[in-house]
Symmetry: C2
Subunit: 449 residues, 2 copies
Amino acid sequence: MRTRPLKVALLGCGVVGSEVTRILTTQADDLAARIGAPVELAGIAVRRPHRVREGVPAELLTTDATALVKRGDIDVVVEVIGGIEPVRTLITTAFEHGASVVSANKALLAADGANLHARAVENGVDLYYEAAVAGAIPLIRPLRESLAGDKVNRVLGIVNGTTNFILDKMDSTGAGYSEALDEATALGYAEADPTADVEGFDAAAKAAILAGIAFHTRVTIDDVHREGLTEVTAGDIASARKMGCIVKMLAICERSADGRSVTARVHPAMIPLSHPLASVREAYNAVFVEAEAAGRLMFYGRGAGGAPTASAVLGDLVAACRNKLAATTGAGESAYAQLPVSPMGDVVTRYHISLDVADKPGVLAQVATVFAEHGVSIDTVRQQSRNQGGGDEGAVEQGAGGGRREGGEASLVVVTHRAQDAALSATVSSLRKLDTVRGVASIMRVEGE
Amino acid sequence: MRTRPLKVALLGCGVVGSEVTRILTTQADDLAARIGAPVELAGIAVRRPHRVREGVPAELLTTDATALVKRGDIDVVVEVIGGIEPVRTLITTAFEHGASVVSANKALLAADGANLHARAVENGVDLYYEAAVAGAIPLIRPLRESLAGDKVNRVLGIVNGTTNFILDKMDSTGAGYSEALDEATALGYAEADPTADVEGFDAAAKAAILAGIAFHTRVTIDDVHREGLTEVTAGDIASARKMGCIVKMLAICERSADGRSVTARVHPAMIPLSHPLASVREAYNAVFVEAEAAGRLMFYGRGAGGAPTASAVLGDLVAACRNKLAATTGAGESAYAQLPVSPMGDVVTRYHISLDVADKPGVLAQVATVFAEHGVSIDTVRQQSRNQGGGDEGAVEQGAGGGRREGGEASLVVVTHRAQDAALSATVSSLRKLDTVRGVASIMRVEGE
């Protein structure tokens, strides 16, 4: 084994950074044996150097991140700060000074990954970011390397633990969205400002990264269609159960049927209870991959948290260090396919639509005509008169969003066959214009079949 | 991109080899783009060159595998023949002639992996074998690379599709072992001679490979404790259900509590229905990994079949080719920890024991005394008199192995707390000697809690 240590600089020392420091210290011998040389933590850039950080050597702390990455003797920079700037500049500066970079920064990678990869190649160093998607779950390396000889057609994932926790609570307790969010916040699963999670920004960044790797194409967060889960109601969850489904917040990356384009999107959707993703509970993440030869694969584990994220960071760090020792670099960006990313309207999917309609003859015929006019084929229709009382209580709940009116109102639940999202969307617009349709209580896509 | 192609030799052209050939041909452009150079299939060694193989170029076939691997211009040899010899000699010859090797050969790797790795290192080439364990599921690369900065404490896997299919049938239909095996054979999930699968040899080879990688220690198939599933009865399955469990054939690799040794074993066991492995149906495989920082991870997919296995082979082939182009090698064997592999007696686990006992006062006290004498703590006991009739039918079934006798027989089901397997085993031996114990109907370990 080489005795001269590899030098590592750490940018950021919050929950993940502290855990990385702890493992680098306590597992030093194992890491050295696996890498073939010892690893030395050479400096830690933080904003508040006087904050107490247990187990973090105070003498390594500095507020000057730029000077740290410019030292010239750093082999690998580990970045766990997050956000676009100043991180992007720090990373490119590290590249220019000969350091490989391990990052957990999904926002930056989803915004500017291609540029960063190019800079890494120019400087003959590695850029790894397993921790950026689904925390501890090995996902980027398996997609980039293990499936390098296969053709991935679809990636379907629960990649945000906060929203999975919220939906799981709603499903298991019957709670509404706000109540479930409150519990997630109280337990530390949701941040004080939960926007990035509940509006799907976090998942969209991950979807962009996954789609790019899976389809050998550049995909940024701007290419990802995004819908949050704030409008999902207890009625939607009950309605999903009624058709043997569960509501999950999904990141979906798909190759089109003709293989000539791809799509990436994030939104709540119903999936069958029999689907492996349906049983992913609490804040766990799981990603389902469909590849031509491999078939259906699933990767499951903790998507966030200090230790799980540190596990992914350390795995990348070992790889970057091994490459440094061997004076080589690992598999980098692969974007040769350059497939166009199609808009949401081109996605082929199914809709579950709950309508509040007038309870009189001919309404179903009117509604069915609208679907037919848009070329959307109906799979099932369930009709429930509100005035009959009793009966199918669940169906009544689905109209909860629209309130309950006197005198002849019914609820109509339509599930379509697969059709283009644009046609489904246009169908809903036309339905809203019908006199007999009092309101569209909910619309949700049905996936994973 | 380099225009001179990398040359690949294929050893074996059965189900997997044909699929590898098909993908190398149909996905040639994609593979070339991902590798950075085209790949040329230079020769295919087969035993029966005149057999019709659709899509396989007849001019590439040869019966002289040795000459093929000795050509000197082969960059990567793909071995999908299986068995120990002549494959071992072919692989080492390939190494000596500068070729990296991609193998799907679990038996050879589990028997002689350390030697093969050493030969690969001597010759500066790669040895990859993702396809040897759990088919298409990326497992070896994630364990070896993604978790390289973590400490794996346990690997718990369903790594044999045939036995999972049999147990799944028994569970879902109430069929006995023979009936379920017949169905597996009829559907092509079991071979004409199912010994390697049902006696656990196949799973034991995989357990050896997984344990070796997970614990950075050399483990061979001889180190793996192995029990088949041929004695699992419909009663065992029903009994498992009664305690909220399901019976699965598991490969279990564990680090001891003090971290100073490891164990590897393959046997049927009960796991809780809430465990992620419990829902793995049909011939699917899944491997559950517990690591210190990452927490609980699961990898799920198809464990066998031509296309899934070819996916794993091709992923390795791309990696081996990239390394050839970069004149480097990837992460090889890591066995620095050299932890001793402890015998089965040292394993700490729980037992579920069904006893046929005399139905008279004092029996339970006698039985409980035997457990206490061996230092084994009892978790639950369920007693059922046979003469009362009706009642708990399931409990009566558990005694099916021992037949039903007249005059005061009862069934006693004991579930223990965790104890050393040696103590549990000695307890059972002592129980058999009790006059009041007419027979031990079944013993099964309880895992995954």
